[in-house]
């Protein structure tokens, strides 16, 4: 892949990637996966980065209006999901089904 894209590394303050001492901060492994997924789909030409950052800003604004909050990467994931569905990569049904499957399996693994 090419070098990191400044469109991604330097976004508007409102949606800028969380950093600590300049470095990206991922609070949990899934956040890094979600980050990577969004970047890879952009590099694959599924959407221009502008569409993603706009979507993230819209998601943030919508939540604010509802008076609810979500973490940065929860909003990121929501944006990613909506774009992937809008571009016809996945359907909401298969995504829901697969999530439920994983949840069931995780439940199985942790309860004895």
């Amino acid at each position: 892949m090419a070098a990191p894209d400044p469109h991604i590394t330097v976004m508007d303050e409102q949606v800028a990637l969380p950093r600590k001492n300049g470095e990206l901060v991922f609070e949990a492994p899934w956040e890094a996966r979600a980050f990577g997924l969004a970047v890879v789909l952009n590099e694959a030409g599924v959407y221009p980065w502008h569409d993603f950052s706009q979507g993230l800003a819209a998601e943030t604004a919508a939540l604010e209006q509802q008076g609810t909050s979500a973490s940065y990467y929860e909003r990121w994931l929501e944006t990613l999901e909506k774009l992937a569905i809008a571009r016809g990569l996945v359907s909401i049904e298969e995504l829901d089904a697969r999530t439920a499957e994983y949840a069931f399996r995780a439940h199985d693994e942790h309860e004895d």
Binding site: N21, R33, G36, A84, E94, A103, A106
Partner: protein, 209 residues
């Protein structure tokens, strides 16, 4: 989404977001749209890219290479470009050397001008009105809040970044690091030291003997 419950993850099970991410990834992999490897590569590249690391490389080089240091202080933009780091055209980089008697601190009193090609994105406090206003009025007090106590004999020089000139501090090489190589010095150099609100500390345990 978990709404306004910040503590939405149940112990022992994965959060909804984690499951959802895994589901999306597995579907995209199945459809042949992505591979898991490429995600790993991308994440690693972004984790290592921007950030204060570029500036740390500049500082470490200047510590070990006196000729480079001279070029760096004479013409920051060109010397930084030698290492492959550059920013927008028309923005000059000026590097300020700290010494036992002079301590430089960088601020942008107007907004948040920052040498991002070498330091990445500015921390939120750098952009805060409190820092921008107070560091000019009472630099010693502000530095103390950062945990940096400077003797009264040390002169503090403040540098106001703007759209044409971006400043970066060349911190003093800490005592006890004479045996360290350039590569070993790089991780010692922090962002805060290159803004001038901290000093570079020698490693607690010497990396090599």
């Amino acid at each position: 989404m978990s709404g306004d419950q910040h503590d939405s993850h149940q112990t022992g099970t994965e959060s909804y977001a984690a499951l959802r991410t895994k589901a999306l990834e597995s579907l995209l992999v199945e459809k042949g749209l992505i591979t898991t490897d490429v995600i790993d590569i991308v994440v690693r590249a972004y984790e290592q890219d921007i950030g204060p690391l570029n500036g740390a490389r500049v500082v470490a080089r200047a510590w070990v290479d006196p000729a480079y240091k001279q070029r760096l202080l004479a013409d920051g933009t060109s010397a930084i470009a030698e290492l492959g780091f550059g920013g927008r055209q028309g923005v000059d980089m000026v590097v300020l050397e700290n010494s036992p008697t002079v301590h430089n601190v960088v601020v942008c009193t107007l907004c948040s001008c920052y040498p991002w090609p070498v330091l990445g994105l500015p921390p939120s406090w750098y952009k805060s009105y409190a820092y921008r206003a107070r560091v000019v009025r009472e630099p010693r007090a502000v530095l103390r809040e950062f945990g940096l106590e400077l003797p009264a004999s040390v002169e503090i020089r403040l540098w106001d970044s703007n759209s044409d000139i971006r400043y970066m501090v060349l911190p003093e090489r800490p005592a006890g690091t004479e045996h360290l190589s350039e590569a070993d010095l790089v991780p010692l150099v922090t962002r805060d030291a290159m803004i001038g609100v901290a000093r570079v500390q020698a490693p607690a345990i010497p990396a090599r003997r």
